[in-house]
Symmetry: C3
Subunit: 423 residues, 3 copies
């Protein structure tokens, strides 16, 4: 990938091409539970290079405003969240969740000049989402499947990943790495038990992909040998501009991610498990809350993984030797993160040599790039119609003669969300 395209894709701050594109979609900002109580503690959050403050006001509505007071630039993190807004601790200016300044104690007549940046927010799937683009362009709320399910059927976590969002998201698009770094992880994971899918994946390291370009992004059909007369297909999706969807194993929960830039050197890796038809069991939920599966354990008081680059991700060479951890790192998320962060804060795209299995990555990059350049030319971005997000990942064993694209049209096509648990 040339330098111009690389720079376009990885830079997402205000006024950048990619930043402008991403601001046309609803952006996951933080867990709703981080600002659970009305008038509770406000939380600092950096998204797309902007330093913001999230809070829940007296009426229980979420606000996402500039972190800094309009007056002297002091952080509103030190302010008081009470009676319908945040009051700056320095000189008492007060701001509502829509950024209006409603009190300037020393000069009430100047309120109207002291408004600050504010972004509209909604809550879906346990997350707060913000719209950071032009007001007249706000799209309908997200409809990825896990946003619409009862809380009992969903588990969401986020973790800090210390690299650019692009190389992180590409790990989510590229499922061919599952046979390597995650190889031994699946043996222990309850969400992978009671199904032969693991065996198929282990036995056939050379997944072959059909890739379909769709209105919402990409659908990948990954083929591995199944039984003598069948193929095991894993059908995954990448949804504009940052969602990935992961098929279940057997009747276990499905999974998904969202890859959201914090700044150009860090991103939030959101990880979701969800079951469309039934609640997560207590033991499953306990497993996920312990940071297992695609989630992780944290450094106390933070969303930074306990296994991180400062401690070499708690690599265990003994476990690597004994084939308990392929790279010596444990946990799906940290196996990915360790490799992706090792590429540097921003991968040197000039040095990479892509392979045929990277075709989906190449296509996603091109679609993002074209959309970013198109927007600059006045072309509306793709997938603003949230109903296009109503797709689902699937794993299925099909007779060798059956085309998965055909099967998918009636099983995982747009608008269906219907359960498909073949393997």
């Amino acid at each position: 990938m040339d330098g111009e395209m690389s720079q376009t894709l990885v830079r997402t701050g205000p006024g950048t091409r990619m930043g402008n594109l991403m601001r046309r979609y609803w952006v996951p900002v933080l867990l709703a539970s981080e600002i659970a109580a009305p008038d509770g503690p406000q939380v600092r959050v950096t998204i797309l290079g902007e330093k913001l403050l999230a809070f829940r006001d007296s009426a229980g509505k979420v606000g996402l405003i500039d972190e800094f007071c309009a007056h002297r630039g002091a952080s509103l993190y030190f302010g008081r969240n009470e009676e319908g807004g945040i009051r700056c601790a320095y000189h008492g200016l007060k701001f509502t969740r829509d950024g209006r300044c409603v009190e300037v104690p020393s000069a009430p007549q100047l309120c109207e000049f002291m408004a600050i940046k504010a972004y509209p927010c909604i809550e879906r799937g346990g997350l707060v989402w913000a719209y950071m683009g032009p007001p007249d362009k706000q799209p309908s709320p997200p409809e990825v499947e896990w946003c619409g399910l009862p809380p009992s059927q969903v588990f969401v976590s986020k973790r800090l990943q210390e690299c650019n969002y692009l190389q992180a998201m590409e790990g989510g698009i590229d499922t061919s790495h599952v046979s390597y770094v995650h190889r031994y992880e699946v043996d222990e994971d309850p969400f992978h038990q009671g199904t032969k899918a693991n065996d198929y994946i282990r036995a056939d390291g050379n997944v072959v992909f059909d890739i379909e370009r769709t209105p919402f992004g990409l659908t990948l059909y990954g083929r591995r040998n199944g039984e003598p007369d069948s193929y095991y297909w894993r059908i995954t999706q990448w949804l504009f501009p940052w969602f990935t969807l992961i098929p279940p194993f057997g009747d276990h929960a499905l999974a998904g991610h969202v890859w959201v830039p914090i700044d150009d050197h860090n991103c939030w890796a959101w990880s979701i498990n969800f079951h469309p038809a039934k609640p997560l069991s207590n033991s499953e939920r306990a497993h996920l809350e312990a940071g297992k599966g695609i989630h992780c354990a944290y450094e106390p008081g933070t969303f930074r993984p306990r296994a991180n680059k400062d401690n070499d991700y708690l690599m265990d060479r003994q476990a690597q030797r004994e084939k308990r951890a392929y790279s010596g790192v444990f946990g799906f998320s940290m196996q990915d993160a360790s490799l992706q962060e090792s590429m540097g804060p921003i991968q040197n795209h000039a040095a990479e040599k892509l392979l045929p299995t990277d075709r989906a990555i190449v296509m996603a990059r091109r679609m993002l790039y074209d959309a970013a350049l198109g927007l600059e030319q006045g072309v509306e971005p793709p997938a603003l119609d949230s109903s296009q997000q109503r797709v689902r990942a699937a794993g299925v064993l099909l007779e060798r003669s059956v085309k998965p694209e055909v099967w998918a049209k009636t099983h995982v096509a747009d608008g269906l969300h219907q359960p498909v648990y073949s393997v």
Copy 2:
């Protein structure tokens, strides 16, 4: 404030406009007690962007010299302070407190070529002060009131503040913030007890300022409602280029600060309590030594506050909710520092929106800027005559018809330093 003016004010290294201006005054460098003993350990100190070494020589005289040996640039911090100078540990070159090189063991004839930078120092008020400007321009020693009092009547501390000196000092000039971030602090502070001043401040958040431009800087007259027939006036001073003076509460000690650039991203916040007429009591001194009042507790072995940006200033949201700490941060100094540091290492002046209560700040900036530009044109800076520093802050309850400027002329005017304890 435009970018040119902002850059002029915040940059204080060698050769900068503001740096040149500040070097025309005596500069507080370190506590005299940090280098208490003749031939005791030398101390590294960075001031106005210069890396220096302070020490007390065999005769008890203070030296402030370049930290680095003229020969190879090794730090003299590792040198031996004995027999009238510092000897470099690397090759034995020896330097006196006036920067002369008096020994080059391998080449005595080269001593005269090996002199290093040295600044004249004096001791006043428990501090070492240096003069870092042109030798022929050295002003008379500082005469701020606390410099001339017996040690029993003064308590001085310093703390590292991790931002530019300007935004720190502006918090000292701007007393309008007292009604907000410090609101609940005064309830607990012994220096605020036994007086109705706190009640006046709490009851009337909208202080109105008369500001007088003086030969030495600014005098601020802050008016709040007092009794039905009186106003409560707080008279504070800003003295060129970095002193601020704070009125007492009742017959308690007065207070003051000095705001001295370490480099452009850090400053020393000097804090002084002093009583013009009587010693601090044992309990008062114990209180101050414990880091209470305008002082602070430190990280062990340093002058960095224990409450700092790495631990969010030990913010206590519970205490904030319960109105024990307005911003959740405890302590006058850390309440200010938390807000001022939150503006960034250097405040983004382009984004600020000043209010009428900021008039004193605007005036001080302008005076500093004009003085810096004037100096460049050959105009001597203001307030080089130290006797102009003989002013005092005061708090006084005056009949509503009395003009505080008139009252002050006979009570806190230049050269008087006479006690005024009205409230």
Copy 3:
């Protein structure tokens, strides 16, 4: 030293003049013991600004390859070292120690395009050495004396020094500092006992140097007063481009260093004790393994000294006062490192004022500079013939009329390595 010469000498990354010169010699990379076992854990190592990975393959051969996979740039540190190479954990690409890619699971036909950087390695004296220059220019293996001795007669350690290699190496060339920073260290060191050499060094701080330019670098003849009718000569060598050799005291072991750039702000200080004629005793070896003498103790799990710039090298002012440690820092290595690191990551050569005792440094700089510029013009560098490294340092008491250069010709001249223990 002017800026152009300084920049030429201190920059050693790929494509720099000095980097090109150094790449013409065998480069010490890591301890052979760090990658002791075939198929054992690989080790990250940065040398001359290049991020590399060292490992021992199934056949016991050492590989030194690019740290990052050719495909997406993931670190091979997380890969699996087994069956003749390192397999990337991300997508299973496999690389042999010569950088060939022997497996691309998803696209075997592309192996030939996926080769990575690899450098030939040899093992000598307990170290792994790499040749990082043009393949057709590889010199014969190093022949510094300690490379050829049985392991029982050699002790090697390395430590991280957090500054440019040049200022570190110059401390090794410049032996005139021994009378200062190391003055009290020798009293305690067993390798300095039972000889009058210490007394000579202590008594005569003004060493006088004869310096001889040789085909391999420099020989320094340092003269101090010995007995009334004799001089005590210490004969040291600097060998192109980074070796220094230190004379013994009495019949104790000799010493040497290698100063190898990690990057422009860090270097490896290799320290070697060796005896040409007999094994190190158990107590001597225990002493060295404890980090005494010219070695050091480490921060756990690293080669960073426990005494480092973050803790002011554990400086003990009490010990300094009591003349147990000249600078307050203990240990030969940390005494040097503390001073050299205090000069900054790269010494400001524009500010230094060199003395007559720095003549050897000036000559070494000039020789390195001339060689670097010469190479650019097609002139082959000096001392590529490793047999020129067959020299030895010596300490000897000679009648005042004897020229040490003459004596040395038959005792420490090229190709001899014969024992000389006069004092």
